[in-house]
Assembly symmetry: C2
Homo-oligomer: 250 residues x 2
Amino acid sequence: MNYIHSAQNQKVKQWKKLLTKKERDKTLTFLVEGYHLVEEALNSGSIAEIIMGEQVELPAAWNYGDIPVNVVSNEIIQLLSDTETSQAIFAVCEQKTYDSVLEEGRKFLLLDAVQDPGNLGTMIRTADAAGMDAVFVGKGSVDMYNPKVLRSAQGSHFHLPIIGEDLGVLISKLKQQGAAVYGTALENGRPYTEIDKSDIFALLVGNEGNGVNSELLAETDENLYIPIFGKSESLNVSIAAGILMYHLRS
Amino acid sequence: MNYIHSAQNQKVKQWKKLLTKKERDKTLTFLVEGYHLVEEALNSGSIAEIIMGEQVELPAAWNYGDIPVNVVSNEIIQLLSDTETSQAIFAVCEQKTYDSVLEEGRKFLLLDAVQDPGNLGTMIRTADAAGMDAVFVGKGSVDMYNPKVLRSAQGSHFHLPIIGEDLGVLISKLKQQGAAVYGTALENGRPYTEIDKSDIFALLVGNEGNGVNSELLAETDENLYIPIFGKSESLNVSIAAGILMYHLRS
């Protein structure tokens, strides 16, 4: 174990930089916080190093082999934590890259400019539950490695590929491969219940305020809507995505 | 208009108290913030008084008749606001009571010990969209008039009855009236897709960590689960509620 007490330590400065998207993009690593996420990262073989408070004991069941473990002061925990009451355990994880997702997968979730981290994380978690093969995150979306996104996704980042992608290019490729590409819209669409399940499909949902970009909607095979039976103006995007993913795959 | 600049003013002290559940329960009023919620409250006839910053102009289309309007200093706005960037407009609203919801309604959402305000608000919004006739909020849940609940529900509090209730008593009454009462459970349930839509039903969902109280689950007609096809442990409760409400009512 490696003991670090000073917030001025170079390693600490480097970890703290991982709270920015810029540094995550540059290093292709990210930071996760809390027992559950560190355990998921460990099981997926993604961890580069572990960081924990002096009071923390690593669970006996964890097989962390020769992964470096850094024991740090509470001051450093506070610097790195994104939560109100930190569990004082973190891991630096390596971002994965994926080659053959399109060829091997059959069910995809595409996210256009989703800006709320809770929504992005919840949709990643729901895509995992619904057995989707990958999630593609388009431009204008919150960073998929944002701490709040990681927390809301509850470890699903380690369960299925989450990939930043140009959705316009992706939709063309998906159509060439014979996938049914479904957009979502409040108007000019078909009620989702008219659509039967598909063997190979992509579901495209969009920004919380503006929905899916109209240029992308023009490229889909069909655009779906969920009927509003009451007086609310719309559904939360992650609720809509959940209803549609489960409908299309069931 | 009534101008108030001092945070020591008695009215300001009273409004500030409405940030506590205790005072909301005592006065049977609550505070909403932002143009959208104030407009929804206005349209539903729930507003007792309006509070706004000096820079705010009420939209010309708002017909607020003789509802008192208080213009207040930015210091007071900050005291009352639950948001990072306040729109500097609030309304004190009257809580509604409901008599004949059970007799007249056919579709009900029951919430057992839901503790996250975003989840509670999102489920109220989704219940509204799905055309549910009322939402019943059981013991151990976050207060339904909590500012974050109100914000997540986006005005649906003014669209359908939201009622605090003992769920055990309620379930007995619902069964006597012939409603199908569906609980939700991760185990020992039936897959939701086996259940056909019901003319009159109640859906019971539970706490984020522990699910529905087992004593309540023992009183339902059936307990349902949503299959997990991937590797996530569970679905977020508001996603599960959305999938089930739309399935049962469609």
